[in-house]
């Protein structure tokens, strides 16, 4: 301990504000504002339902981000297991009390919003495993008995989410969890064994896939297979992005989205819309903003002293990167359409809530970077 604990834990509000990572805050704000313009465009250049509620959500959850960042990192460390269990119970709740839409059961009706607990679980699992590996000593890291808890904590929500069914989100949850384990020092061979088991189980898993999920994978492999059906989204998205060219068609002039050729333009395909209207340079700008956010998260990971903080920031940063990359690869025709939102940009309260919560914890790591968690 380089500094007395008492000083660290009793930072005044002013000190806290001063120790914010402002580059991160400004990047998030910029992205939020850009996303409002994009949402305004999906509403056809009017302040309609999507725009209004997106703006409201952004600011509400941006506030949440501040609140969370002001709370001591030790608190988040201490409550990690509880948070995980809460999220898990919510997931269970979805299974029994969830509301269905277009064939899948993903949401809980909370009256003021429809909550998608699987989005929260993306962060919850990282928190849980960060605390777990923070507490496992380096010698025990690779002993079998210390693998049970992580595996169960990973598999249980995964199964719940995959059977909603929501393949995309379950993969993203797994990515976060696996990242924590690997960063903490779990040997490659365990991942290799798991991968082997996974591949062995794949045929069984495929037999459980819904027809539309199979069709999406086949379509990804050959989008022209069914240009008006399942391949339609990929083809139209590529057309929209490609036709944007260097400078784009101009704000509110994206014909592909304006004329409804773009599916899901509020959510998964928001980048397509932006890219069509603002072209290559616009896309590059978004990409740079995300790169900046991710690099700040990693930077905070470097600064923070505790293993919990490091593991959390690195893993969350990596997961954040994965969300961005999976979404972009999807709309650029490099991955099958798995249904994953673009952080902050996409319409959707749960995703926004989860990301802001996750970022809040990161910022808390920054503010209390020198505070040991135990």
């Amino acid at each position: 301990m380089l500094q007395p604990r008492s000083i660290q834990s009793s930072l005044g509000i002013r000190d806290k504000i001063f120790s914010f990572d402002y580059i991160l805050v400004i990047s998030i704000l910029t992205l939020g504002i850009v996303s409002m313009f994009a949402m305004y465009s999906t509403d056809g250049g009017e302040f309609k339902y999507h725009t209004n509620s997106h703006i409201l959500r952004f600011f509400v959850f941006f506030g949440l981000f501040f609140l969370i960042s002001l709370i001591q990192i030790r608190f988040w460390h201490d409550q990690s297991y509880l948070i995980y269990i809460l999220f898990f119970l919510l997931l269970l709740g979805v299974k029994y009390y969830g509301i269905s839409s277009s064939g899948s059961k993903r949401w809980l009706d909370l009256y003021f919003m429809n909550l998608q607990p699987s989005e929260l679980m993306k962060v919850g699992l990282i928190l849980f495993l960060a605390k777990y590996y923070h507490r496992v000593s380096i010698e025990n890291m690779n002993s079998i008995q210390y693998l049970f808890t992580p595996i169960i904590s990973l598999i249980a929500p995964l199964l719940l989410v995959a059977t909603q069914p929501d393949l995309g989100t379950s993969i993203l949850i797994a990515t976060g969890g696996i990242t924590v384990a690997w960063l903490a020092g779990v040997r490659i061979k365990f991942f290799a064994y798991s991968a082997l088991i996974f591949i062995a189980l794949l045929p069984i898993a495929i037999s459980f896939l819904k027809p539309y999920q199979k069709s999406r994978i086949l379509t990804f492999l050959n989008p022209e297979r069914d240009p008006l059906g399942a391949g339609y989204q990929i083809i139209q998205s590529k057309i929209a992005i490609g036709s944007g060219g260097l400078f784009g068609k101009g704000f509110l002039n994206g014909s592909q989205s304006y004329l409804d050729y773009l599916p899901e333009k509020h959510t998964d395909f928001i980048f397509t819309l932006f890219s069509e209207e603002f072209g290559f340079f616009g896309s590059l700008f978004i990409l740079l903003l995300y790169a900046l956010i991710i690099s700040r998260i990693i930077k905070i990971g470097n600064l923070t002293r505790s293993t919990f903080g490091k593991l959390y920031c690195y893993s969350f940063g990596t997961a954040f990167f994965t969300y961005v990359v999976v979404n972009m690869m999807m709309v650029l025709g490099l991955l099958p359409i798995v249904g994953s939102p673009l952080p902050i940009m996409s319409y959707g309260g749960s995703s926004m809530m989860a990301i802001m919560f996750g970022l809040g914890v990161v910022m808390s790591c920054k503010i209390y970077k020198d505070v040991p968690v135990n």
Partner: protein, 644 residues
């Protein structure tokens, strides 16, 4: 259990950082990959995707132009356009579809079958796509519909245009229009940019000949559409251009009259102005209903047309091939005179038949005609007389004259259905049949049998060119204001009726093209034709006119061969009292009035028997009708010439 790491925190941190470094490197690579993908799509392939985006965005709707109108010489519309009253329904604008159909049933004549069919159609399409409830409403139905329109949500009355013909009297020469077929698109280049659903093209007759100009220019509307095909906004509109209208030389009244005369017959009639070549009437019977083709032909009607032995779809006036029979005798005699084979006064004795190389050649008159000269030969249509002069003349000289007067080649241009017929000679036979010419065949040719084949319009042209004094005319059916070279000539002749104008002066001063060597010969033939029609013993004497205004000179004919292909040899048997299919075709050609000829006519009645009894009476009636209308026609002629 869990050991709170304090000592090994540093080692752990180092491990985490090392692994994080690897991850960061991987992330950088993936980011670069994403940028690369963006470059590919948005820079390298952006042209391709831009055009794909536009293809998504725009839809063009072509607008069918109105066809030009075809009028007769007196500006009567022979083919025009009628408003087509349609009812369309846009399902998304209707609250209760079932209720609407019940309401519509009360207003229009819709069967329950049609309604259930429409409901199925509606289910299949997008709710904003219109459904055609009825594509051809009567005016009374349409106006009733408009009366109730306020209570019919989603129903749209649409007025479009479709081809219409006043009746079927000119069906063959006008032709008909029908939907564009795949074959039309392939063969007619001008249709390439014109293909509009529901648009019709000319399939036969004038409609086909004039199609390129009469069809007009297609307009188009370009709309921006959304992903579901719904029109969002109009970007561009081009109204197109209606097709050019045409005035023909036909006389609708004569067409109707002739058509009525030929009812129930398989026959053809052609009437021509002998100076201008204007075709006054061109009728083929039986006729068909051209309006039936416009909205898609019903199978029953099509079957009845194709199975009819009288071939209603064939324009017999220009594609029917008939041996000219005795009508050719005018040209045989003329050829013999021109070639100085005979003099008009030369006589032969007809005993009813002659023998040549052991073959018997019969005259239609078994008893024979006795002593026959040229005038009597034509008057009585003595076959023996023409056997004799044909033998002396030879087929090659005959064919030369026949061709000069218009046989063996198409009279009009650009009618795909017109046929050129056959004027045989020794070379022709060698080429097409591969055999040498027999002298017996010359004899048959001399009475218009054997290989000879001609169309009624050719026979009419032949007669016209004899009647006008032996000058070439260029028949026309489309009226244009080109002046006619006969005008000056006629004027001069009227002022100096007795002056004999030398040939070279005709050519030079009047720009005429004489078909004769000596015009005297033409007059001899005309005189002989007069006697055939107006002197006792003449073959059409019974059907003459007493009124000098209408007196005509003609020549009868009957062709003994029912069907003749180039490969077929002549049939020698002549039978009477045959069943319909085996009867002779009856032919008659004439010009009128004799004193001051104006029109020529040809009549062919298939299996009508003899020309004198079957064709001449019909020709007589038509001649009267045409001459009665001549004053009116000349007024228009003068008027249009003044305009020139």
């Amino acid at each position: 259990m869990l050991s709170p790491g304090s000592g090994n925190t540093v080692i752990k941190s180092k491990l985490i950082s090392r692994r994080m470094f690897l991850l960061t490197a991987a992330k950088a690579i993936v980011m670069v990959g994403l940028v690369g993908r963006l470059i590919t799509l948005q820079i390298n392939q952006s042209t391709k995707y831009k055009s794909l985006s536009d293809k998504n965005r725009f839809r063009e709707w072509k607008l069918a132009p109105e066809r030009g109108i075809i009028r007769d010489f007196f500006d009567q519309e022979l083919a025009s356009n009628e408003p087509l009253y349609q009812v369309h329904l846009v399902p998304e604008n209707t609250k209760n579809l079932n209720q609407l159909f019940v309401r519509l049933k009360g207003i229009l004549n819709i069967t329950d079958q049609k309604i259930s069919y429409l409901k199925r159609v509606i289910k299949k399409q997008k709710p904003w796509e219109p459904v055609i409830i009825s594509d051809n409403l009567s005016w009374s139905e349409f106006s009733r519909l408009n009366l109730f329109l306020h209570e019919l949500d989603g129903v749209e009355p649409i007025v479009s245009v479709a081809r219409t013909y006043p009746d079927n009297s000119s069906a063959h020469i006008l032709g008909y229009v029908s939907q564009i077929s795949a074959k039309d698109l392939k063969t007619k280049k001008y249709l390439k940019d014109l293909s509009v659903p529901g648009m019709t093209v000319g399939k036969t007759g004038l409609e086909r000949k004039l199609d390129k100009e009469i069809i007009g220019k297609v307009g188009f509307q370009r709309y921006e559409v959304n992903a579901f095909g719904k029109r969002i906004k109009e970007i561009l509109i081009d109204e197109g251009k209606a097709g050019s209208s045409f005035k023909t030389t036909l006389d609708y009244e004569v067409q109707k009259y002739t058509n009525e005369l030929l009812k129930d017959k398989a026959a053809a009639v052609c009437v021509m102005d002998i100076y201008k070549g204007d075709i006054v009437s061109l009728v083929s019977a039986p006729t068909f209903e051209p309006n039936a083709f416009v909205h898609g032909l019903e199978k029953d009607y099509w079957d009845s047309l194709t199975k009819d032995g009288k071939k209603p779809l064939t324009n017999k006036a220009m594609s029917g091939l008939y041996p000219p029979g005795s009508t050719i005798k005018t040209l045989v005699a003329l050829s013999a005179l021109e070639n100085k084979i005979i003099k008009p006064s030369d006589v032969f004795r007809c005993t009813g038949k002659i023998e040549l190389h052991g073959e018997k050649f019969h005259c239609w008159e078994k008893k024979g005609h006795g002593i026959v000269n040229l005038r009597k030969g034509i008057q009585r249509s003595c076959d023996v007389y023409f056997y004799e002069i044909a033998r002396k003349l030879g087929v090659d000289r005959l064919s030369e004259t026949a061709k000069r007067f218009g046989l063996g080649k198409k009279v009009l241009s650009d009618f795909i259905e017109e046929r050129s017929g056959v004027v045989p000679n020794t070379k022709w036979k060698k080429k097409f049949i591969g055999q040498n010419w027999y002298i017996g065949e010359t004899l048959h040719s001399g009475i218009g049998q054997g290989y000879f084949q001609s169309t009624p319009i050719q026979l009419c042209l032949m007669t016209a060119q004899i009647a006008n004094g032996g000058f070439e005319i260029k028949p026309r059916i489309i009226f244009d204001k080109k002046n006619n070279n006969f005008r000056e000539y006629m004027k001069y002749k009227n002022e100096n009726p007795d002056e004999k104008i030398p040939l070279n002066s005709l050519v030079k001063n009047f720009n005429l093209k004489p078909l004769f060597e000596d015009q005297k010969n033409i007059n001899i033939i005309k005189d002989a034709m007069f006697s055939s029609s107006n002197e006792p013993g003449g073959t059409s004497y019974r059907h003459r006119f007493e009124n000098p205004k209408f007196i005509f000179a003609g020549k009868t004919g009957s062709s003994q061969i029912k069907r003749f292909t180039e490969a077929q040899r002549e049939a020698e048997v002549k039978q009477t009292d045959l069943n319909y299919k085996d009867r002779d075709h009856a032919l008659f050609v004439a010009f009128a009035p004799y004193k001051n000829p104006k029109y020529a006519i040809s009549v062919v009645i298939e299996h009508g028997g003899s020309g004198g009894s079957a064709a001449a009476p019909i020709a007589k009636k038509i001649i009267k009708k045409v001459l009665e209308r001549d004053n009116l026609r000349q007024q228009i002629n003068n008027l249009s010439e003044e305009l020139v």
